[in-house]
Symmetry: C2
Subunit: 235 residues, 2 copies
DNA sequence: TTTTTTAACTTGTAAATACAAGTTGTGCCG
DNA sequence: CGGCACAACTTGTATTTACAAGTTAAAAAA
């Protein structure tokens, strides 16, 4: 993708380098002045890029010392600002798409309040069941408004997560959100999907993620079997 | 408290005005140029202040339009970046301090990994039980390292929350953290404290909040009865 | 050798300026 | 009257320059 802004170019580059391990965890990034010289930018531009990385939690800055690389947040977790992907440990997570992304109308009694624009345009809907070592632990239902995202139903979601696509291709970033948590007893449907006895405690989460695109929010309902695993999230 | 930096002065002022309702939810802040003129600053300084508010979720900015005031995040919730205060609805929340803040050593088998500096200095410890309409719903255990915070055990915590004191008086801000969530069955101690039958599902949360002070993290363990209430958090 | 001071880094704050890009309302033109 | 174009806003990006403040390590002094 063609990058428009200098600070964003540097941001994407450093982000890639951190994630790929070019800069080790705990080590220092090149100083701001070095980055200026290397990439031919001025210091405010470099600082803008670094600020974005700080906001994402990729680095920590310390006055007088430098920019410290944080643990690559592969675990940008389920309860965190970046969504449901890779919450437990990516390597052991398998996903069944119970319902591929489709465009449809919003449900009648939707758990969240919708703006008029969102309601008019309908939504993209998908359901997933996630496995850890072939045991189902995680069932999530997702709704997002059918705007600004051409061809979203055609995308595979196999190599990239939904959030990664939104971030890179559409510059949609999650700003924050609201969520409601409960510990509930599994009912018949959930106990069937997660293969646990009825009445077993499960985590129940409803959440709404707001983005930098006005009127574009992502809505999720999640059921999680926390018997053997915990939900672990960085934020 | 004497403010050192111009951008921080403006930030604190606008923040206070938003929270006190001077700027209504959904309305627009004065434009950046107006703020420059009013407070005698240059635009980068004003923008720095506004950026801080955006980072906190107090406002949303939209190019070509202005800075939109968001719902005052009174519910900066339990699972969010700002801590355990006022998660359900402040007006109905009563707090029993089961253990006032005291300095002591870290527990033997602490759930989190500690740095050497943290371990050496000991910790501040406190326990609270929180009530909604005289029903106990929320039991939390908190540890923070005994550094940088003189006289913390003497403070009352009655009018201001711990996090508010840390932010205003010590410029300590929560950058992020990690948390682990489970839905578990209440054991004897918890069912006693929360006045529920043993075996009832409760939310169990362990979390570590990291701050802008290197080596200063806040550790909490939380039990929550989600039968009649949900944990609701903005982030 | 030990302690203190200093110098050379680092990031933080701030100014003045310029132009790009998105939004909105006004007013002209058809 | 309706629709389009433009002007007057707004925030976004970028340059250049300067000094403040925290950190570290080397140099100087005891």
């Amino acid at each position: 993708m063609e990058q428009k802004h200098q600070y964003r170019k540097l941001y994407e580059l450093l982000r890639k380098h951190i994630l790929s391990g070019v800069y080790a965890e705990g080590s220092l990034l090149p100083s701001e002045n070095e980055l200026c010289a290397t990439y031919g930018m001025t210091r405010p531009t470099v600082r803008h890029a670094l600020d974005t990385l700080v906001k994402e939690g990729m680095i920590l800055k310390q006055q007088g010392k430098g920019s410290i690389v944080r643990k690559p947040p592969q675990n940008i977790g389920i309860l965190s600002i970046e969504g449901t992907a890779s919450a437990i440990g990516v390597r052991y997570l398998k996903t069944d798409i119970l319902q591929k992304p489709v465009a449809k109308m919003w449900p009648e009694n939707f758990a969240f309040e919708l703006s008029e624009a969102e309601r008019d345009l309908g939504c993209i809907y998908m359901e997933r069941l996630r496995f850890v070592e072939d045991v189902p632990v995680f069932y999530d239902i997702n709704h997002l408004p059918n705007i600004y995202i051409p061809r979203i139903t055609a995308r595979s979601f196999e190599n990239k997560s939904l959030f990664e696509i939104l971030r890179q291709e559409y510059q949609i970033e999650i700003l924050g959100g609201e969520q409601k948590l409960k510990a509930i007893k599994a009912d018949a449907k959930i106990s069937g999907l997660l293969k646990i006895p009825e009445g077993q405690p499960v985590l129940y989460i409803e959440r709404k993620l707001t983005t930098n695109k006005a009127g574009f929010s992502i809505y999720s309902t999640i059921y999680f079997n926390s018997e053997k695993h915990s939900i672990f999230g960085s934020f």
